[in-house]
Symmetry: C2
Subunit: 325 residues, 2 copies
Amino acid sequence: MGATGAVGQEFLRILEERNFPISELRLLASVRSAGKTMRFRGADLPVQELKHDSFSGLDLVLASAGGKISKEFAPSAVKAGAVVVDNTSYFRMHEDVPLVIPEINPEDIATHKGIIANPNCSTIIMAVPVFPLYQRFGIRRIVAATYQAASGAGAVAMDELTAETQAAISGKPFTRTVIPHPYAFNLFPHNSPMTENGYCEEEIKMVKETRKIFHDEKIRITATCVRVPVLRAHSEALNVEFEKDVSVSEVYSILARSPGVQIMEDRPNNRWPMPLDASGKDPVLVGRIRKDLSQPNTLDLWVVGDQIRKGAALNAVQIAERLFP
Amino acid sequence: MGATGAVGQEFLRILEERNFPISELRLLASVRSAGKTMRFRGADLPVQELKHDSFSGLDLVLASAGGKISKEFAPSAVKAGAVVVDNTSYFRMHEDVPLVIPEINPEDIATHKGIIANPNCSTIIMAVPVFPLYQRFGIRRIVAATYQAASGAGAVAMDELTAETQAAISGKPFTRTVIPHPYAFNLFPHNSPMTENGYCEEEIKMVKETRKIFHDEKIRITATCVRVPVLRAHSEALNVEFEKDVSVSEVYSILARSPGVQIMEDRPNNRWPMPLDASGKDPVLVGRIRKDLSQPNTLDLWVVGDQIRKGAALNAVQIAERLFP
């Protein structure tokens, strides 16, 4: 569901790369995309219009067509006997729906009742490197600031960033249709809807989803989410206060053996993870690991992850791999 | 000193705008720029090569040619009888040199012995809106994450960001000469030299300079500094823990009457300060003012300021205005 979007396209690449066992692949999208073809394992597959009867005979539905579409169509897929791994936010906080990062809470997959939710990209990119430290040292509080790429708003946003930037360089006028604010050489606080308490929804997702995934309602998190003029891969500055004494050398050794994490530090050359390093890559890159000088038992970390891969399509396929090993 | 750089050019604009009393303006720069002319108050003034005997008869030297140049030439300017307002980092932490933001510690100007230092741009943009809150509520700790524009590395960096982005869009190769990392649609942790403790110098400046300006060695600050592909104006996500109970409504009323600060919030339209809003403007823009849900007496703030103006040239001219009222 949502085969032609940025995440949908990435699904095809990842299913190919990881040799996911597939006897029939059905590409579902809106009526606008129906009739197009997409390349998969050497064949051109037709894109079909998503309908309530699209799911018969399917074991698995990977959904990335937006919350409204998942709300409307996921129940039909479940009724038809499929398990839905949903990339939208719609079911994430539902009590009956497990919210899963396979490196963290794979055991929750077994509790599903037809739908498994994939967390928000900013949540995943924070949680993957932070969870192994949480297990060892406990966490009191996280202060996060994000640097989110255009890809989080889809392929159309990536195209618009490029086109608007080209227009800005050429001094030509440009009419935006996707991104709500000037984006060429500019940035803005995340444009998700504001909530009563002054946080935007993206920030609240990082708080609530992390608690659900970690099964710990006591972790205190605050976040400021910002869209930056980067095409792909989100970065985050994380300040993490631990419950126990934390040693930087132990943090390095824990992260070095943590799944889905790659330490990338070249201190002599002052070279740390960047969005371009993470683009198209699986692991969340971690760097600038240092003791916070302002407070005991606190670390500053810099993490960068591909928002379309581990932040969306890859994480969902990893869930699917556990469903169909 | 450094008349032809990004800050030097801004000096001329600001001196004109503010009608600063000038009988003779001497434009000093490296031998490369000598012979060029720059427009000021309707005349084309020649750029002269900076030499140790360049300062005779001058009352004031505005310096923005880099730390090495200030180290070498500021003493000559002082010997010639001028007061140097120095935009470089070289003298900032010297005991005998006041470090001044006129909205915060104007009284320190009177203690100068020939040199007054202008703080680092990221420090100024944080300190201007934070100081009035510090006065009212006291501050325990600040966690800062910066989103710094190309302008912080000078006019050449701004040109290189534009050229590299153009090349990236056109798919053409590009050779960087100023910025050390890929910058088109990319970002990277601040490239100032690393210190022993894992912080980069830019981050340490925010810690130490703020303490010196506030005359309070107890304020605890941690920062992660990042360069983003924005041409001009720095943004910062600030998490500020206060000593006293803080009320959001009182914060609004304090900031509304604080000099150099402008609240910019349009919550119904989800519209907050952006670098393009601050570019070419004097005040530091503040938005996303909210109680941190993770901890009592703590606020999240989003601040944006023109790095070349209030972050450099404007602040220095404001100091000069107090020297020569």
